[in-house]
Amino acid sequence: MPIHTKIEEWPAERLGLRRFNFRLIARLTGILLIYMAISMVLPLAVSLFYRDGAQFAIVISGTTILILGLFLRNFVGRNATFDLKETESYWFTAFIWLAIPFCGTIPYLFSGTIGSFTDAVFESVSGFTTTGSSILSKPENLPESLLVYRSFTQWIGGMGFMLFVVAILRKLGVGGEQLYEAEFSGTRQRKLHPHLSKSVTRLFTIYSILTFTMMVLLLVSGTSVFESLCLSFSTVSTGGFVPHSMGLISLSNGSLSVVTVFMILSGISLAQLYYLFTFKWRQYSRDEELWSYLGIFVLVSLVSTIAFTTVGNDFRTSLRYSIFHIASSMSSCGFYIPQPQHWSFLVSVLTFLLILMGASAGSTGGGIKILRVITLYKYISNYFTRMIHPNAVTCVKVNQKVVEEDYINKIFAFVFLYIAFILIGAFILTLCGCTIPDSICMAAANISNLGPSPLINSLGGSLDYSTLPQIAKWALSTLMVAGRIELFAIIAIVSPAYWKR
C-alpha cells in the first residue's frame, strides 16, 4: 500500500505532527463513537417503555454522536494505517478520554437535564471514569432513560474503551498490546489467551456475565427492573452512580447483600474471575493479590465493626454497615447507605487508606492497586534487611516471580505522581474555598475513581459536588481521568520529552 505518500498529504505534517498516526486515532475514535451511538438504543428503549419524554433528546444526541463518529471514521480517518506506536498509544489514550466524555455530555445537554456545560462534563467524565461523583442533588427527578444512560456510561467505561478497540479491531498489530497494557496500568496482566483479541473477548464475556447475573439476582430479591438495571451497571464497573438521592436506602436487605457481594467481586481482577468461573483453582490459589484483597477486606471490616461497636452502636448495625462500607470503598464503588448513629474516626482514616490502595490490578476499580502496594511493601521490608546486612543477596518475589528493579522504580514513580496529583488537586480545591481535609479527601476520592465517600461527610464536608465552583469541577474531572488512565499518559503528553523528535 502506498501509505507513506498518503500520510504526507495530510496537513498535520506541516504542523510538525507527522510522527503521529492521526488518521488511525481518528478512525478508532470514530468507531468508538459509532458504537456509543448504537448503545444509545438502550436508553431509548427505556425512555419509550417508561414514557419519560426524553426520547427525542436521546434520538437527536444519538444521531449527533453517530454523525460525529462517521465523520471521524470515514472522512478524517480514511486510509489509516494500522500501526500504532508507543508514542501514539499515549496520544490515543488521552485523545479518546477527551473525545468520549465530551460526546457523552450531549444527551445531558440536549435533554436539558443538566444545564451547564461544566456540570455535564463533570457528570460524563465521572461516568466514563467509573468514579460516580455526581453534581445531581436529586437524581430521581431525571427521566429514567437518562439515569440508565448515566449508569451505562460507567459500564462502558469500566470495561475500558481500549479493550473495546482491541476486541473490535482484530487487525490491530503491535499497538494492541500496548493499549491492553495501558488499560491495565502496566501491571503485567497475564493474558488469558495467547491471542490478544481472544483474551479480550473472554474478559468481556466475564464482565457481561457478571452484570447479567447481578441483574437477575437483584430482580429476584425484589428490586424494580429499572433500579436493578442501573445498579448492576454501576456496581460491576465499580462506578457508583445511584438513581436515587438517598443512596441505596430503598433496597431490601437481600438486594443490599447482592450489591455487597458484587462490589467485592468487581474489585477482583477480571482475569482471576475468569479462572474462578472456569474452575482453574491453581491459577488463583497462588495469586497473592487476590488473597491480600480478601484478607484486607475481612480484617478491615472486623476492625471497623469493633470501632463502631465501641463508640456505642449495636453490633448488628455495625457489622452490616462496616461490611458494606468497606466493600464499597475498597472496590472504589462509592455506594453509601445511612451511617450508624455514632461515627468513628478510626473508620474514616482506614477508609482513606483503602481508597488510596484501591482494588486489584486488572479490575475495574481505581486506586494505586493492591498489586503495587504488595510489591512496595515487600520491597521496602527487603530494603531494611539489606540495610542491616549490606552484603546479603536478596530478591523480592511477588506471585512467585522475581520483581525487577526497573519495575519497582516505575511503581515508586507512580506512587510519587499519585501523591503529587492529590496534593496539586487539593491545592486547587483549597483555592475554591474548601477546607484542607475536605480538599485532600475529595482529591483522593476522585483520583481513585471512588466518587462520593462518607469519609468526606464525616469530616464535615458534603457529598454534593453541585455546589463547588467551576474550576473545582474541572480540576476534579481532570483528576478522575488522570486516575483512570493511571497518570503516565497524562504526564507523557504534557512533558517536553514527548514532543522531541
Binding site: F384, R386, T430, T435, I436, F488, A497
Partner: protein, 471 residues
C-alpha cells in the same frame, strides 16, 4: 555528647545570674547532673572498640538523640517551667530536633535562662543534624552515598574517606559558628538588644524557630525581619556549599548547583504566590505583602517556623501551600527538615526518566544530578525514604486524629512535626501552641519529630525484628 550538653546547661547560668531570675540552683543542678553522667559514660566506654557493626551505628544514633532529648527536659522540670513530663519532653525534643513547636502559650513569662536553653538546644540540634547526616550517611551501607558530603568524587577507599570526613566536619562547624557570630553582630548592629540577637540567631540558623516572644518575628523591625530571613535562607543551603562559597572555591560550588537552583526556584514560586495572595486576597498593602510573603516562605521552606504574622489567620490555600513547601524542605546537608530538595529533584527526574524509557525503549536515560548520573542505589534509597516518609506522615495524622484532635489540626501538626517546621494548622498554628493537645497527642508529635529528624529509616529499622536477630 552529654558532657557538652551539661556544659551548655551550665552556660545558661550566665543569663540566670545576669537577670537574677532565681532559677540558678535548679539550672546548676541539672547541668552538673548531666555533665557527671556524660563524664561517667565517656570514662566507662573509653576503651570501647570502634563502631564496626552497622546496627550498632543505627542504635547509637537513635540512643544519642533520645538521650539528648531526655536530658534536655531537666532544665524545664527542675525550674518548674512546666510540671508535666510529656510537656518537657515535647519541648526538649522540639528543641533538639530544631522543630520549634512549643507547648508554652506565653513564652515571655519564662525565666531568661530557660529561654536561652530553648534556643541553645536548637542550636546544638541544628548542628547535630549536619553532623548526623555526615557521620551516618557513609555508614548507611552505601558508600557511594556521598552526595551529601562535600567530596563527591573518590570516596571509595575508606582511608581517604575518614580524612575527608574529618575535614568536612571541621569546615561545617566553622561555617556554622562563623555565621552565628556574624549574624549576632549584624542583628545587634541593627539595633536589637544583644540578648534578642543571640536568641534569634541561635534559633534561626538552626532552622528551629523557637522564639522568645509570643509574636515571634512580628516583634522585630522590618529590617531585622529581612536579616532574619537571610539567616534562614542561608541555613537552608548546604553547609559545605557555604564553605566553598566563603573560600571562593567555585569549581566545587558548581557541583551542587542543581539543588541550589531548585531550592531558590521553589522559594521564588512559593513567595510569588504568597505575595500575590496576601496582597490581592487578604488586603495587605504591597509592601507588607512582599515582606510577609518573602520572610514567611523562607521560614517555611527551610522548615524554621519563625512567624512574621499570625499565619493561622491566613487564607487557606497559602497555608496549604506552606504545608507542601515544608514537605519539600531545604537542601540536604543543611539544618532543615522535610524531604530535602535533592530528593525531590531526584524523584521528579526519575519520573522523566521513566517516561523517556517508555517512549524510546532502547535509549539510555540516566537520572542526572549536577550533570552526573545518579546511581540506581541512590534512586532506590530516595524512593524508599519518600515512601516511608509518606507512610509515617499518614500514620501520624491517623494517630493524632484518634487521639481526639480534629482533621485539619492533625494534618497540620503531623506534617509540622515530621518536617521539623513547628507551627501546625489551626490552634497549633500561627502564634498558637501545642498546649491544648492531649498527652498522647504530644507524645505522638514528639515521636514524629524524632522520626523526621532521623529520616525515618534510622528509627524504624530498630523495630525490624531482623535487626535484633543474630546472623
Amino acid at each position: 555528647m552529654l558532657m557538652v550538653e551539661g556544659l551548655l546547661i551550665l552556660a545558661c547560668l550566665i543569663p540566670a545570674f545576669h537577670f537574677a531570675d532565681g532559677t540558678w540552683p535548679a539550672i546548676t543542678a541539672s547541668g552538673l547532673f548531666t555533665f557527671n553522667i556524660g563524664l561517667f559514660l565517656t570514662v566507662s566506654f573509653h576503651g570501647a572498640h570502634r563502631i564496626t557493626d552497622k546496627r550498632l551505628a543505627y542504635l547509637l544514633v537513635v540512643i544519642m538523640w533520645v538521650v539528648l532529648s531526655l536530658f534536655g527536659t531537666l532544665p524545664y522540670l527542675s525550674t518548674g517551667a512546666t510540671t508535666s513530663f510529656a510537656n518537657a519532653l515535647f519541648e526538649s525534643t522540639s528543641g533538639i530536633t530544631s522543630t520549634g513547636a512549643t507547648i508554652f502559650s506565653a513564652v515571655e513569662w519564662l525565666p531568661a535562662s530557660i529561654l536561652l536553653w530553648r534556643s541553645m538546644t536548637q542550636w546544638i540540634g541544628g548542628f547535630g543534624i549536619v553532623l548526623l547526616v555526615l557521620a551516618l550517611v557513609p555508614s548507611m551501607g552505601i558508600n557511594k552515598y556521598s552526595l551529601y558530603t562535600a567530596e563527591a568524587s573518590g570516596a571509595d577507599n575508606t582511608g581517604k574517606q575518614t580524612t575527608s570526613m574529618g575535614a568536612t566536619v571541621r569546615h561545617t562547624l566553622g561555617v556554622y559558628i562563623l555565621l552565628t557570630c556574624f549574624f549576632i553582630l549584624v542583628l545587634w548592629k541593627s539595633g536589637l538588644h544583644i540578648w534578642d540577637a543571640v536568641n534569634i540567631t541561635f534559633t534561626n540558623i538552626s532552622s528551629g524557630g523557637f522564639s522568645i516572644y509570643n509574636n515571634s518575628l512580628e516583634h522585630l523591625t522590618h529590617t531585622q525581619q529581612y536579616i532574619t530571613a537571610a539567616i534562614m535562607l542561608l541555613s537552608g543551603i548546604n553547609f559545605s556549599m557555604l564553605y566553598y562559597f566563603l573560600t571562593l572555591d567555585w569549581k566545587r560550588l558548581r557541583n551542587k548547583f542543581d539543588q541550589l537552583i531548585c531550592y531558590l526556584t521553589t522559594f521564588l514560586i512559593g513567595a510569588v504566590f504568597a505575595i500575590l495572595a496576601l496582597a490581592l486576597k487578604m488586603g495587605y498593602s504591597w509592601a507588607d505583602a512582599v515582606r510577609c510573603g518573602i520572610v514567611q516562605t523562607i521560614s517555611v521552606l527551610t522548615t524554621t517556623g519563625s512567624l512574621v504574622a499570625d499565619t493561622s489567620q491566613w487564607w487557606v490555600p497559602i497555608t496549604f501551600l506552606f504545608v507542601v513547601l515544608s514537605l519539600c524542605g531545604g537542601m540536604a546537608g543543611a539544618t532543615t527538615g522535610g524531604l530535602k530538595t535533592m530528593r525531590v529533584l531526584i524523584l521528579i527526574r526519575n519520573v522523566r526518566k521513566i517516561l523517556r524509557d517508555r517512549l524510546h525503549p532502547r535509549s539510555v536515560n540516566p537520572v542526572r544530578l549536577n550533570r552526573k548520573p545518579v546511581s540506581e542505589d541512590i534512586i532506590t534509597n530516595v524512593m524508599v525514604i519518600f515512601m516511608v516518609y509518606a507512610a509515617v506522615t499518614f500514620v501520624g495524622i491517623m494517630l493524632l486524629m484518634l487521639s481526639g484532635i480534629n482533621a485539619t489540626e492533625s494534618i497540620g501538626a503531623a506534617i509540622a512535626c515530621i518536617t521539623s517546621y513547628g507551627p501546625g494548622l489551626g490552634t497549633s498554628g500561627g502564634f498558637g501552641c501545642y498546649a491544648d493537645f492531649t498527652t498522647s497527642g504530644k507524645i505522638i508529635c514528639t515521636l514524629l519529630m524524632l522520626l523526621g529528624r532521623l529520616e525515618c529509616l534510622t528509627l524504624i529499622i530498630l523495630f525490624v525484628p531482623k535487626f535484633w536477630s543474630r546472623g
